[in-house]
């Protein structure tokens, strides 16, 4: 089963999140700049004389398509990297994806999502290592 994660996060956290995702082997992603607000409501900005309220705040949305079994770890990673504990940290949505097609090769489904050394490649490597009796993790590639 393929899933899509949409994570709406603070602009200033984008680099932290990107680094954390790379560390766990999430290779493919894209981002869009979005505006909006949730429970936080908005912020007060300074005008020429007096302040005014702005309620559509800039945020960044990460789009990540990945296999079902990687969702929990990825969500956890984003939450850890994106959180400040203050209102306005954002939201994560997870959706089912019907099909994925890689344009260059025509590959479909799981094959279209695979990259060298991505989260699944590492998983495979770890499983193989376990099955031949070596301590899991000893052959894990360095992140």
């Amino acid at each position: 089963m393929t899933k899509k994660i949409e994570a709406i996060v603070r602009e200033e956290k984008v680099n932290d999140i990107k680094d954390a995702l790379r560390e766990i082997g999430i290779v493919g992603m894209n981002v869009i700049e979005v505006r909006g607000h949730g429970r936080q409501g908005g912020i007060v900005l300074e005008g020429r004389a007096g302040t005014y309220q702005v309620d559509m705040l800039p945020r960044v949305q990460f789009n990540i398509v990945l296999s079902d079994h990687n969702v929990d770890k990825t969500v956890e990673t984003i939450c850890k990297a994106a959180g400040t504990g203050r209102p306005g940290d954002g939201l994560i949505f997870v959706y089912p994806v019907d099909e994925v097609i890689r344009i260059r090769t025509g590959e479909r489904g799981h094959a279209a999502l695979m990259y060298p050394d991505d989260i699944d490649a590492r998983r495979e490597a770890a499983l193989q290592a376990e099955s031949i009796g070596v301590m899991s993790g000893a052959l894990m590639p360095e992140p």
Partner: protein
């Protein structure tokens, strides 16, 4: 006296440079305003100022100069002797500037005539119909600016006869623009969604750039008004810089007391200081300039708040900044002027001459009434005949697309 041989190369060079500096202020103003509107109206806003350079340059050559500075008809208006700049050439006109070519004086004054209607555009950005605006600008220059310039600056002009002091246009430029903006804003009405939707400045860096260039240009505006490269020009340049500095600082503290030191506030403050020192620059000391600039910031700051409380969409605060700043500057000239700075001027109230303050107050009242009244009627007539506003749909789409078929950022 042989006037031709009296031309002074240094004076002429300075006035030519000052002409270029004042000319630069209109595109600078375009960016000052352009940064404060929404993205969909930035080209329209820039163009309201830019096209004025074209419209008024032609108007000035044809009739503007002679209406303002032609031989006075009963102190009310200049006669048509200089229409088409006929007879305005390389020889000086000793009435106004005896050491530079008459044509240099006319060109220098042209830049003042250009920037004044451009100032008014801040009142009606984001909703004005361009075609109507063009006609308004032409009529306003002819019916308001040229007569007031004649009354205050023309030899034989009514207010000049009265003894009014206006070194570089606090009354002629800033009061006329500011109070005309107020009148126009009342007639055209608020932008849709004003007071409900936030109308955020879309590019404050443009405004900072514009204000910075205005500050530079103002050395030509005020320093050049000495019409000579002399000590008076230096005094005007120093008082100008000092007032801008004081007003920028005071405005910074005012916004800081509210919340945080606003950058848009600081640069607005500097412009207001420049406005207020304009009538006084060649009559007061640098110390007086600190007080004139500093108090101007307080007056304009609270004028903006007053305007906001009254829910009037005078969109970019031309009245608060130029009208009130200019009125304060004109009155302050009647307080702080001293013959120690300029013996062709007068002493003000603080130098033992309360009469000068009275003259300034009368001048301010007359010009406010005239500018507001004529502009109000003019706007009403144009609204009835041609329509001042674009349609609701055109306003929603933005004037860049609906009036010009262009977008600022692809």
């Amino acid at each position: 006296m042989n006037t031709v041989s009296a031309i002074n190369a240094g004076d002429t060079a300075w006035v030519l440079i000052a002409t270029a500096l004042v000319m630069m202020m209109t595109p600078a103003l375009a960016f000052f305003y352009g940064g404060m509107v929404r993205k969909k109206n930035v080209l329209s806003t820039l163009n309201l100022s830019f096209i004025i350079m074209a419209v008024i340059s032609i108007q000035w050559v044809l009739v503007g100069y002679t209406l303002a500075f032609g031989p006075s008809i009963s102190g009310l208006i200049g006669a048509l002797n200089f229409a088409g700049l006929t007879g305005v050439g390389a020889s000086p006109n000793a009435d106004y500037a005896g050491t530079i070519p008459h044509l240099a004086f006319a060109a220098y004054q042209m830049m003042f005539a250009v920037i004044t209607p451009a100032l008014i555009t801040g009142a009606f950005v984001e909703r004005v119909r361009f075609k109507t605006f063009l006609i308004f600008a032409l009529l306003w220059a002819t019916l308001v600016y040229d007569p007031v310039a004649h009354w205050v600056w023309g030899v034989g002009g009514l207010l000049r006869q009265l003894g009014a002091l206006d070194f570089a246009g606090g009354t002629v430029v800033h009061i006329t623009a500011g109070f005309s903006a107020l009148a126009f804003a009342r007639v055209i009405g608020a932008r849709h969604g004003y007071g409900k939707a936030p109308m955020e400045p879309h590019n404050i860096p443009y405004s900072v750039l514009g204000a910075g260039l205005l500050w530079v240009g103002w050395f030509g505006f005020n320093g050049g008004s000495a019409l000579a490269a002399n000590g008076l020009a230096v005094n005007a340049l120093v008082t100008t810089n000092t007032a801008a500095a004081a007003a920028g600082l005071v405005w910074m503290f005012l916004t800081w007391m509210d919340n945080k030191p606003s950058v848009l506030g600081i640069v607005t403050g500097a412009v207001v200081g420049l406005v207020a020192i304009t009538p006084a620059a060649g009559f007061v000391t640098p110390l007086a300039a600190i007080i004139i600039g500093g108090l101007a910031a307080v007056i304009s700051y609270y004028a903006i708040k007053f305007r906001q409380r009254n829910n009037l969409d005078e969109s970019l605060d031309v009245w608060a900044c130029h009208g009130m700043g200019g009125a304060w500057g004109a009155l302050a000239t009647g307080l702080f002027a001293t013959k120690m700075v300029n013996d062709a001027g007068a002493d003000g109230l603080f130098y033992g001459n309360p009469g000068q303050f009275l003259v300034q107050a009368i001048t301010v009242a007359v010009v406010i009434t005239f500018a507001f009244g004529v502009t109000f009627v003019l706007a009403k007539v144009l609204d009835a005949r041609l329509g001042l506003r674009v349609t609701d749909n055109e306003e929603e789409v933005g004037l860049d697309i609906s009036e010009h078929g262009e977008r600022a950022y692809a």
